[in-house]
Amino acid sequence: MQSLLSILADLSWPFAIAAAWVAGEFGHRWTGLPRISFYGLVGFVLAQNSIGVLPSSGSATMLLMADAAFGLILFEMGYRINLRWLRNNLWLGVTGLVEAISTFAVVYLIASQFGVTTMNALLLASLAMSSSPATVLRVINEERSSGQVTERVLHLTAINCVLAVFTFNAIVGLWIFHSSGDWLGATSSSLVVLLASAGVGALFGIVVPAMLRKLGNMTQDATVAFALSVILLVALTYSTRLSPLLATLAFGLVARHRRVAFSKTQRNFGALGELLTVLLFVFAASTMQWSTLATGTGLALLVIVARFITKVASVTAFSHVSGISWRKGVLTGIALTPVSAFIILLLEHARQSGVDLGHELSALAAMTLILEIVGPIVIQRALIWAKETQQKEPQ
């Protein structure tokens, strides 16, 4: 009997992932909603203590796998960012800054009003700045959308994520300083780590394309080579306590600007990317417990609404001057709604370095879970309303 239980425990993750995939396929076919919403739903349900299929605290292996999955997504995201565009269209960069900073301010004010401690309010505000790269990219690829809303959501998400990582780490550093007085430790755990992470990523971005160029015929080999490099980079940052998020994003950015071709068939990193995406979204949702959620939902809903309004208003304000219609400005703002894996992974990493925020910030957990499931639907609608998705071929 004991052995049967341990076999069942071993099977729990593969079972959950398979179940999520099946739910995603059928759910997508029947409702037209994004697959990842169903992955998150299945992950959340199976992880509840009362059901007990998945262990509620994520295992280290699963976190590494999730990081690898997210690394692939961040690499692709970085690869699609055109820094030259930000120079050619200054208003786009301004949009990104204003949107992120005003979200930070608004969320901080609301959280303070609700009696959240200053430190927690700052952390919540810094994380609320970010949109979800995983959700954004995944839905864009699933819908094969292309146009200004698509392009701008990608760029604005990259900007607000980088800002969120820096602010978050700066605040964590501040926290360590406050609690231990260790100035050196506080700095090294924030800024230095971030710069080193970006540096390692950039180094990969130079070395890997150069190596591929030597191999020749890169259009066929690039996917596997980049995927392996990303996984290696994640493992490397993992063991050196650097930030895999920033490293993989920097890798993609630098690789793109080194101009090595990457053909369309390799979007999402093909089947490997698909597989890891299921895992990532199941894992992310499985870190949430219903009990934590119930307590934080009130504030979470308020933050979600305020964040939504702030993002839409800021992006819309600069839409005309940055060259798109007001309508597309509103839709771009709406499409920035998703929040998911990005925050969860940041929190998991903070927990590893001894700062456990998940339980103190129940509102954050609630917001993340709600948006992990609702977020994909929101961005999907925004892209459809912007007429940037591919029409379904008449059967």
């Binding site: 050619n88 094969r144 392009e151």
Partner: protein, 375 residues
């Protein structure tokens, strides 16, 4: 519906239309960007005209009517600069080239508009495969009879324009071995080919067109996809065999060459065109598409086989006095350099070799269109 009368226009005036590619700067595939680009361009006066095309990854621009090469070129450069600036603001790459080297036709999105949707419904996959990019040159004609005379007299020179403009060596990721693979897609349409042989406008309009209209297959001149077709509402003939070149300089030069040729032909010193000229027409056209400047063509009157490159260079030299009279010498000089140094198709193949990928080739095309040096 009867064909409208042939409008009068000033003889030998010039106009150019270019179909251009809109490209995603991350993966260099075609991007469905025309609605956004057109929205932005509408905000300020555009030098010339810009319109949507069949799929959302292409736009068409056209010049106004010009009498001289240099003013046409100046306007095309102006249009180019306006487009490039708008593209920069929206992160869209814009380039010439007759085909996109690796786009998959199945993923193209048809622009919403009744005519486009109608064509798409009729032609099915042909409509999406028609994501190809051509240059059309209009030449003003004093009368319909002149138009028909020029249209048929030009038959011998059609391969020149194919070879000089060729810029579509790759289709769906593969080197087709053709310099202009684009025209193979045009030939798939039932109404492609050449106009029926008649030298009188009245006969074309009242007999041929009237009969075709009666069959119900044809509603307007737009339904013919001929290599050269008369355009009665403008009072022009329209040469449609050119690939969109990589640069507007090449596009203007091709127009100057056509203008000089028409001036020469209107002097009527050459032997007049006859129906039998078309015996060699399709094969010559194939040679130009397949081998470009290295092709060999058969003279329609003497049946002598000639190198296409040499025939072009000889003809360019012969047209020099006409070009001078019309102010188009710079254009002809540009083409004679191109005939010696190689076409844009050849340039693209070199870029493929250099960068090792089709994406690198598109990147080179975008730079070329912006006016950067093409080394």
């Amino acid at each position: 519906m009867a064909l409208e009368p042939f409008a009068q226009s000033v003889a030998l005036t010039l106009g150019v239309e270019l179909e251009l590619q809109l490209v995603n700067l991350s993966d260099f595939d075609l991007a469905d960007a025309s609605p956004d680009l057109l929205h932005l361009l509408k905000r300020q006066p555009f030098p010339g005209n810009v319109t949507p095309e069949m799929t959302e990854s292409m736009i068409e621009i056209n010049s106004s009517v010009h009498t001289q090469h240099h003013s046409l070129l100046a306007q095309l450069q102006d249009i180019r600069d306006t487009l490039v600036q708008a593209g920069d603001r929206l992160n869209i790459g814009i380039c010439g080239g007759g085909t996109h080297p690796f786009q998959q036709w199945s993923s193209q999105k048809i622009f919403s508009g009744p005519r486009f949707q109608e064509l798409s419904a009729l032609y099915g996959y042909l409509a999406k495969q028609f994501t190809i990019f051509g240059q059309h040159v209009h030449i003003g004609c004093a009368s319909g009879d002149d138009a028909m005379f020029l249209l048929h007299s030009l038959n011998r020179y059609v391969p020149h324009f194919i070879a000089l403009s060729a810029s579509s060596p790759f289709v769906q990721g593969r080197d087709t071995q053709f310099d202009s693979a684009r025209l193979n897609s045009v030939f798939a349409f039932p109404m492609s080919g050449r106009a029926p042989f008649t030298l009188r406008w009245a006969e074309f309009s009242d007999v041929y067109f009237a009969k075709m209209a009666k069959t119900g297959i044809i509603k307007s001149m737009k339904d013919f996809y001929w290599d050269i077709r008369p355009k009665p509402e403008f009072g022009t003939i329209e040469l449609r065999v050119c690939d969109t070149p990589l640069t507007v300089e090449r596009a203007a030069a091709l127009a100057a060459y056509l203008q000089a040729l028409c001036r020469h032909l209107l002097e009527r010193r050459e032997e007049p065109p006859v129906e039998d000229d078309y015996l060699v027409y399709n094969y010559n056209r194939f040679q130009a598409c397949r081998f470009g400047l290295d092709g060999a063509i058969t003279h329609p009157k003497t049946y002598e086989t000639m190198s296409l490159r040499e025939d072009i260079i000889t003809t360019l030299r012969k047209m020099a006095p006409h070009a001078e009279a019309l102010g188009g010498s710079a254009g002809l000089q540009h083409l004679s350099d191109a005939a010696m140094n190689g076409s844009h198709a050849q340039y693209l193949r070199t870029q493929y070799q250099r960068h090792g990928s089709a994406e690198g080739m598109v990147d080179a095309a975008i730079r070329g269109f912006r006016g950067e040096a093409m080394a």
